[in-house]
Structure formats: structure tokens, C-alpha cells
């Protein structure tokens, strides 16, 4: 049979080294919209080599789509290397800043979380409490759920950044 068998949707973390030049990010992002791929998260920053940036992408799709995403990214002239971190041991983090209305309820709810997760209160007065968390994507999702129940005033999140554990 010539057609691809359907496969389950999975999420993958890709670490993409690109040329550190103007317009590169638009090439990468544009590829996703042009080909109908989904990005769950994207984070980009310069590396130890100032001519290169690392883009961490969290993408979703079936096996065929994920293969196409990697192949199409590889075709971009400015893409130097793609690592699929999901296939290996890796560490990942997301930063989240959350603003709450200060109240005894919020204070009580946050207390156990502050010891359990990498979290801290970074600003607090009689009216506003701002909390920072730096956690894995998985834990960040969990915290996000808890915070929503508490009543978020404002929130800002970065995309996932990740690194392989290999040397």
C-alpha cells in the first residue's frame, strides 16, 4: 500500500541551531505556517558562538508530519543542525511570571508549592503578589492549571528551552 498508516499524535522537542542573522526566525516560523505545521512553543537565543542561535521548538504531529517538519527545517539554508531531543535524555525549562491579587487564600495556596517547585515570590505588597517559576514544561503546565484555579491577574510565559544531556 502506498499510503502512510495513521499514527498517534506525539509531541517532540527539537533543538535547532541556526545562523544568527536577520530574517532567520521568519524563515523558520514562516515554514510552519506555509506547510500547516503546528508549533506549541518556540524560544530562541544566541549561543556561545555568536554566529549561531539555538531555537528550541516544541512541535506536535503524527509520525509523517514530524518527519516532514524535520526534513523541511533541514532544507532551510540558515538551519545548521537539528536535534530531536525527545529521542535522547534531555533537560528542559520554562519560565513563568504570574501576578495574583494578594490575599490570605493565595498566600496559603502558594506556600506548599514554593517548597515543592522551583518557584519564588519576586514582588509582593498589599495588593499584588508576583510569582516566578522555572520548571520543566510538564511541571509548568501543572502549575499553570493550579494558578488558573487561584485566579490569575496576568501571566507571561517563555517557550521551552532544552538541552541534551549528552556530552
Amino acid at each position: 500500500m502506498a499510503v502512510h498508516d495513521p499514527t498517534p499524535i506525539q509531541q517532540r522537542v527539537l533543538s535547532v541551531l541556526v545562523e544568527n542573522r536577520a530574517g532567520v526566525l521568519s524563515h523558520v516560523v514562516g515554514l510552519f505556517s506555509a506547510r500547516g505545521f503546528n508549533i506549541d512553543s518556540l524560544a530562541v537565543g544566541e549561543t556561545e558562538d555568536p554566529t549561531m542561535s539555538r531555537i528550541t521548538l516544541v512541535v506536535k504531529g503524527d509520525a509523517r508530519t514530524l518527519e516532514q517538519i524535520k526534513k523541511q527545517l533541514n532544507k532551510l539554508i540558515d538551519v545548521i543542525k537539528i536535534q530531536d531531543l525527545t529521542d535522547e535524555e534531555f533537560v528542559d525549562k520554562e519560565l513563568m511570571l504570574v501576578k495574583f491579587k494578594t490575599s490570605p487564600r493565595v498566600k496559603d495556596a502558594l506556600k506548599p508549592l514554593l517548597t515543592k517547585y522551583r518557584m519564588s515570590v519576586i514582588d509582593e505588597d498589599g495588593s499584588i503578589t508576583v510569582v516566578e517559576s522555572t520548571e520543566s514544561r510538564e511541571n509548568t503546565q501543572k502549575l499553570f492549571g493550579l494558578f488558573k484555579e487561584l485566579g490569575i491577574v496576568e501571566i507571561a510565559r517563555t517557550g521551552t528551552v532544552a538541552l541534551s544531556k549528552k556530552v
Binding site: 500500500m1 502506498a2 499510503v3 502512510h4 498508516d5 541556526v18 545562523e19 536577520a22 530574517g23 521568519s26 524563515h27 514562516g30 515554514l31 506555509a34 509523517r64 518527519e67 516532514q68 526534513k71 523541511q72 533541514n74 532544507k75 532551510l76 539554508i77 540558515d78 538551519v79 545548521i80 543542525k81
Partner: protein
Amino acid sequence: MPKMTGAQAVVEAFTKEGVEYVFGLPGGACLPLFDALYDAKFKVILVRHEQGAVHMAEGYARATGKHGVVVVTSGPGATNTVTGIADAYMDSIPLVVVTGQVKTFLIGNDAFQEADVTGITRPITKHNYLVKDAKELPRVLKEAFYIASHGRPGPVLIDFPSDVSLAEFDFVYPETVNIRGFKPTVEGHPGQIKKAAKLIQQSKRPVIYTGGGVIIAGAAKELIKFVEKTNVPCTNTLMGLGGVSGTHPLFLGMLGMHGTVYANKAVNDCDLLIAIGARFDDRVTGDLTKFAPKAKIIHIDVDPSAISKNVKVDVPIVGDVKQVLTELNKLVEPVDTKEWFAQIEVWKKESPLRYHDDGKAVRPQYAIQKLSEIMGGGAIVSTDVGQHQMWAAQYYKLNGPNQFLTSGGLGTMGYGFPAAIGAQFAFPERTVLCITGDGSFQMNIQEMATAVYSKLPVKIAVINNNYLGMVRQWQEIFYKHRYSSSEMNGNPDFVKLAGAYGATGRRIDKKEEVEEAIRWSMTIKDRPCVLDFIVTEEENVFPMIPSGKSLDQLMDMA
């Protein structure tokens, strides 16, 4: 180190890259560049519309295998190239397009004739650059030519602000390129090639299916050797026509929506499909779940992303088609296809390519058959898009590669005439024929001026049915004869129009006039010649597999 302006550097780089022709049209932002082009050793062809320039460059590139080069101005000049660039991207044509841009300090200010050209062309170029510093030019130009033609070819655009074109700097053109992110795989994996050879040897009913990749890779010779050595029937996609000669005994004609019945039946029934430089386009496969259902698939392509994109492949081979075929040819031996050919022969007899003929009216298929017979298999044939394109693919028998110039992927009406002009520039002595329709021809008819002042003897066969014929055919079959906006009211007299430009032509509305008119056109050597074939209006292209359907819904001539 010679001091140069940015504009002179571009001209110098073109010269070093062996450019013979630049197609373009000047304007404010590229005045410095055209000033430098005034001293160029190569020829600069002024077109009448920038889209024409890109299609000419495409025609030139496809006929020669070299880069097509375009220079236009900013804003509308650049946006007018978009259709041509998208066309070249879909059909993998190596182009370098330089667009003028407003001065760097004006970029983003909505300046006069400003457009975000790198933004607009990002999804339709293989790569693009906005050069903000003249010192980047040598690297950018070298890379542009390299990227355009290596791996799977495609268009590369350089957006070139006018102040950068005036800036002076020390110009040294690099000898080599080093692009970290661009290292196309050329050599096919030997293990995979062995696996492929084994599968071929084990097959009983194999079919070779080849596309434009064979032409682009210059691998037609290797393909014919492969076909003949294995004794396996071969079908071509629209883009692959000329990969094997149209009269080769092992050739099945084109496959797909308007392919021959026997090519489609062979693919449907084969136990091994050997896809070479083809990409399983929907116009070829129709319903994917029913495409080549019994077959294992070998897929050879230079573009890894083309493999397993649409179909599941058993033996993928990433590499240059010419290199892979050369290796494969060392391993393969004749396959016993006697029974298989006997079966194909039965299908051929049952359903050959055919059409009705009353002996009086000009049938479009007849006109193209006669063009093929009289102008010969050595001609370069461009087409536009629509019914005439399919008839040309079915009935014009070409000898070899780089002779059939057609817009396969994007399906761009208006491609054919300028593409023929580009090819005629490259080969002034050869017969260059554009087969077009009354709809398509009018989409870039202004380039008649370019062909006339350049004294090009391009032949233009207008298959004139007074309709957007393919639209009308679909409306007839799928929309109950409701011919919504497909009748071409107000068509000009194409012969008079040719005359007005200083070209010549004839109108042919009887079958008996066809041959003589074609012979006459071959005597015109100093100007374009239009053959306006007034053909039966409601002729349909058959066979036809409706879009997204499979062989069991094939429609043939009633």
C-alpha cells in the same frame, strides 16, 4: 583589490558566473544597477512586464540547464516577479533574481515603490537575502548562484537597496562557498542502491516513473540506459517528458490525470514502482489510497523532503539522480517482462490515445500531431496551461530532455510564450514552438514586442477554442454545462495583433490548411510567427481521471 560600487560588483559576479542573458526592466531603485549593466559583456534583454522576465529566465534555464537571471526594480517591479518566482520554486528551476529596493534608511517607512520583498517571497524562494552592506555582496552573490543550482534547484532572490548599489568597496569574488546549513546529499547510499537492484530483479511487473528531476539532473542518458538494460516500461510525468524519447518502444507516455490509459493501468497493476526524480504529485496519483496498490516503491530523489511526503516508500534513496542511476546501472540486469509487456500491449490496443475527426474542422489534437510531425522531435516546445498543455503532452513526440518547457507545479497561464522567448535566445538556430491557448496567450502577450525587436523566430501555435478550455471542460463534466466566465468574449484577432507588433501569422480554420500553414511558419526566420488554429470549441481532453479519484473512475473518449 579593485574598488567597485555594489552595482558593478553584481555585474562582475554575473560575468564570473558565466551569465549570457539578463532579463529585466529598470526603475528608480535599480537605476544604478542598470547603469552598471550598460557596460556589461553579457546581453540585457528589456521585457515588457516583469513576469515575462522571470518566465524568459525560466525558459532559458530549462532549455540550457544554466541559471536564469532577472533584474527588476523595487515595489511593483518586484511584486510582478512573484508569480514567476513561485513557478520556478514549484518546478525547481535555478534562478537568481535581483530586485531593487529603496535605500536602507527608508526600509520600513512605506517609501515610494517599497515592498517587503524578502517577506513576500520567503515561501516561494529556495533562499533570499536583503543586502544591507555592500561588503556582504561577494558572499551573497556567490551563495545565490550556488544555492540556486545545487541540490534540488530553485529560485534565489537578492533584495538590493539602491544606496548599497552605490556604495564603493573592495571587491573580491570568492572562489568557493561554505554554507554550514547547505550540504546536499549527492551520492546515494550504496546499501540502498543494492536493495533497489535486488527488488528490481525480483519484480515481475515493474514500472519506471520519472519526473522533472531526471531532466534537471541531466540524467536522461543514464535513464535510457537503465530502461533498456532492465527492459522495464517507463512512464513520465508532465515535467519528466523528454526523459525518454516520445517514440521509444519502452515508453508508455505520460501518467496521471490526463495520462494514457495504459500508463495508468500499468501503474495500477505493477508490483514495483521505481520513482525517479518525481514527487507523487496529486495530479499523478489521484486518490492516494488506490495509487499503485500492489506495488513496492523505490524512490530516488535529491530532496529528502520529497521522499515519504505523499506515499510510503520501501526503498528511499536520497541522492543526485544521475549519480544514483549510474551506480544502479552497474548492478541491474534484464528483468523478464515479456508477459508484462504482452499485458500492456493489450491495454494499448484497447485504449490508445485517440480523438474524433470529421475531416473538416481543426481538431486541436490533429494540429498538435502535425506540429510534431513537421517541426520535429528536435524542437524546443513550451506550453501554457490548460487543455492545449495536455494535448501537447500527449501528442507532441520529443526526442530528448530540456525540450519540453511547461509550468507543471504552479500551473501558470502566461508561462509559455515568454519561456519560448527565453529558450530561443539560448538557441537562436533551433525551432522553438510555444503551444498556447487563447486564454493563456493573452496573459503575457505583451512580450511579442521583446521577441520582435530581438528578431526571434519563435512559433506560437494558438489552440484557439474561444474558451478557457480546461475550465469549460470541468464545467461541462462537473457543473452541468454551466459555463460560468469561461467563454472568452472579446478575443482579439491574434494574426492582426501579431502584425501590429511587427510579427506575422496566419489563421487556420480548416483541417486541410493545417500542414501548409505549419510548413509556411518554418520559413519565417526573422520574426515571431503566430499560427492561430481555430479549433472545435467543445473538445475535451481524454483520458481523464477526475481530481482525487482513481483508475476505476477513468473517463475516456465516448
